[in-house]
Amino acid sequence: MEALAVKNIVKKFPNVLANDNVSLSIEKGEIFAIVGENGAGKSTLMKIVYGLYTPNSGEIFVFGNKEDIKNSHDAIKLKIGMVHQEFMLIPRFTVTENIVLGDEPKKGVVFDYKRAVLEVKELSEKFGLKINPTEKVENLSVGIQQRVEILKILRRGAEILILDEPTAVLTPQETEELFKTLNALKQNGKTIIFISHKLGEVMEIADRVAVMRRGKVQGVVNKPDTSEKELAKMMVGRDVVLEVPQVKVEKGKVVFSVSGLTVKNTRGIIGLKNVSFEVYSGEIVGIAGVEGNGQAELVNAILGFLKPINGKIYMGMEEMKFITPYNMRTRGMSYITEDRKRRGLVLPFKARENVIMGQHSLYPFSNKGILNNQAIDEFVTKKLEEFDVRPPNGYIKAESFSGGNQQKIILAREMSMKHSFLLASQPTRGLDVGATEFVYKILVEEKKKSKGVLLISLELSEIMGLSDRILVLYGGEIVGEVMPSETTEEEIGLMMLGLKRKERVEQ
């Protein structure tokens, strides 16, 4: 039976044709994935189905009936539920309060909290989604918060569940849990639409996959008939090379090192214990580990946002006494962040301002404190083209670019700054295949230019493919140091889970 069908949907935004005659048909009880690069129109299509956007033309059929979905209330009535990328939960409220919000069980006119808790308990048992109904949402991990969101839409009777990039915020373990949940829901006869650009996950969970590119459906394939490679090709429109050719560069001097670094995080817990390592010029040092095992503390200590309680940080041979982003950058550090919106860009600033930020006080961008707009424009135009930012218009605000292009703006800035050491913290997080490929290319180029690169990543394949040396972080400690050629993903995986240790290899 057909659960949902869209026919000839067209949605125009100023300057962009987001959905160009899109038709899809989704069967009841299947997990249907929609993949595509950032800006391919997947989210737009789902927002149309959920009533958040009105299409310029086209029809929507829900369980065989033609429906006119004007807003999300209509969608909920038609048993369509959506879990957004950004959760819409109230942190101070309990799980129960969040789930029943807007449709509370009442005793007369009073909110019947006891009954609400019971209802939530029943619901969580029915679908096998374990949860503590009286816990406050602010105390929950992101994965559990997502579970609350799913329960919330299930309680409203959703039969069709739309999940917009649900794994973007999850750790690998949480993703596993989510997939178990989705399979359980499928057993219960729910229809799931799974939007993603992570092909590995799609291949794991989906029954059928639709590929979108530039607002059009490129094709719908059954999972058994396809491969990651084929999907990537359909998505980008050409062959994607995510395997990086091994480049050997002569190792040079130490450009960055930490010794005995111990850091307390903002919650007052020791997040990094006695960590020491060096990064040489011409090498990429990969830091593998499950999220929350000290990566954030390490980055924040290097930026000076967390003051180490012990240990030293060196740029080259110089010990950094006063660590601030400014001091680190003037000593030759560039930094690619995973948190583009908060750390990487001043969102209301134009692309041109973001590209020169950090070097704006240098000649030729300014002279005696006065900005030289002509020099800035020339430089920015050149850089935006070099880094293939689309559209290559420096006068557009950073917030208006897609995620991949925002990352390219950051790359354009960080690569053009004078530096000897690059701190790349999850540089491909949330990026589609095309942009990921681009980031890999840049990292390898950095190595060729004899810069030292510290690559922190949660994606094991990324670490294995790019690094010359791998350090594994577990519980804030380095539990192993291995060469990618002498190890396997399994071995690193065991170290990441704290089940194996390996001594440092001799330099």
Binding site: L303, F305, T324, P325, Y326, R329, T330, Y335, T337, R342, R343, G344, L345, V346, L347, P348, F349, E353, M357, G358, H360, S361, S366, G369, I370, L371, Y395, R413
Partner: protein, 381 residues
């Protein structure tokens, strides 16, 4: 003309840049309409009230225009000063409500250096220069304290500036004016501080009026602040800070901007500008520091900055607007309306400015439907 407008205000190269002008103007018009409803509901004539208000405000030519116009500019220069002081702090993400205290500090400093013996004999130009420099130094220091505490100790600038306002108030009116700086009462001429020497008075620029060079100085300051904001690396950095002042936004810091240094500098500048306004009231209007000062300019500055959208040239116009409303205030009494009525309008304007996102949205909708109607009309032809 459009080109000039564009370059002066906007510098934004945005598609709908004129929205930034249209939104405040719409807010003002709506506020006037709502104000009219208020008057009408009390059974008085709103048209008469507005006629009286604007005739006396100095905005439209009429009887006694010269005097009302110059009076309007005179008070506008004070509002512009406190408005700019708030705006520059706001642009860097600081919520400084210390203009009130800095304003009075400026006023008392001007009074002291205005009457103090060793300076009183100097030629006007030198005397005035010294006074204004000392005023900016004192006010700047008053602002710097808040900036320093924020930058070095992380103490919220809102709290510190409020407390500094009270410190300034009690220090000046509770002690200085009645104590060490009090005029010799036995002469029986004035109370408060002694009068400033004639060489310390701001030169009059229009004969037979009180209009002095204060407004010209303020216009120069506006231009300087505009240049600072949009043309220098300093302004680039503080705008970046302002855009990332929301909790959790770290982009400007991560990109290597020395935020703590900039916070202190911005507060220094902010305090200096507010104090400059305070000196104008002493050197151009009262000619001494009265025992009880007519205050409130510092807080009105917040409204001025809001209406002017924290843009230097926007503040020029909003300062003039508020100055005009205050100048025309007394005239509405002829229509049996209390002279505080213009303050209601002021409040309404601020309220509608606060709703600017809604107004912006409605205006956009209006523009869009018009555009689509036009294109569709074009298709049928």
């Amino acid at each position: 003309m459009k080109e000039l407008f564009y370059r002066l205000f906007v510098e934004r190269k945005e598609k709908y840049w004129w929205m930034n002008l249209l939104v405040p103007v719409t807010s003002i018009v709506i506020a006037l309409i709502v104000g009219a409803i208020f008057i009408w509901s009390t059974g008085r004539d709103p048209f008469l009230a507005y006629k009286l208000l604007f005739n006396a405000s100095g905005l439209v030519p009429g009887p006694y225009w010269k005097s009302s116009f110059t009076e309007m500019l005179l008070s506008s220069s004070l509002f512009i000063a406190t408005g700019l002081a708030f705006a520059i702090a706001a642009r860097s993400g600081l919520f400084s409500i210390g203009a009130e205290g800095q304003f009075t500090v400026g006023a008392i400093t001007a009074a002291y250096f205005g009457y103090a013996k060793p300076f009183a004999a100097l030629p006007t130009i030198i005397h005035l220069t010294i006074i204004l420099l000392m005023v900016m130094l004192a006010g700047g220091l008053w602002g710097f304290v808040a900036g320093y505490l924020r930058a070095k100790k992380g103490i919220n600038e809102v709290i510190v500036t409020i407390m500094l306002n009270w410190i300034a108030f009690h220090l000046i009116e509770g002690w200085l004016v009645t104590g060490p700086m009090a005029a010799d009462v036995s002469t029986g001429v004035i109370s408060g501080t002694p009068s400033v020497s004639p060489t310390a008075r701001l030169p009059i620029i229009l004969h037979n009026t009180r209009l002095n060079i204060g407004i010209l100085i303020m216009i120069a300051v506006i231009i300087i602040i505009w240049f600072l904001l949009y043309k220098t690396t300093f302004g680039f950095e503080i705008r970046a800070m302002g855009h990332t002042a929301v909790w959790g936004m770290e982009a400007s810091r991560v990109q290597g901007i020395n935020i703590n240094k900039r916070i202190m500098q911005v507060m220094l500048i902010s305090g200096a500008i507010a104090a400059l306004g305070g000196s104008f009231i002493t050197l151009g209007i009262n000619f001494h520091y009265p025992p009880v000062a007519d205050s409130g300019y510092g807080f009105d500055g917040i409204a001025v900055a809001l209406i002017g959208q924290n843009e230097p040239f926007g503040i020029l116009f909003s300062g003039i607007l508020i100055g005009a409303l205050r100048t025309g205030a007394t005239a509405v009494q002829i229509a049996h309306i209390p002279k505080t009525f213009p303050s209601i309008i002021e409040g309404l304007i601020v309220a509608f400015i606060a709703l600017q996102e809604l107004i912006r949205y409605l205006l956009f909708k209006l523009v869009k439907t018009k555009r689509t109607a036009q294109t569709e009309g074009g298709l049928t032809q």
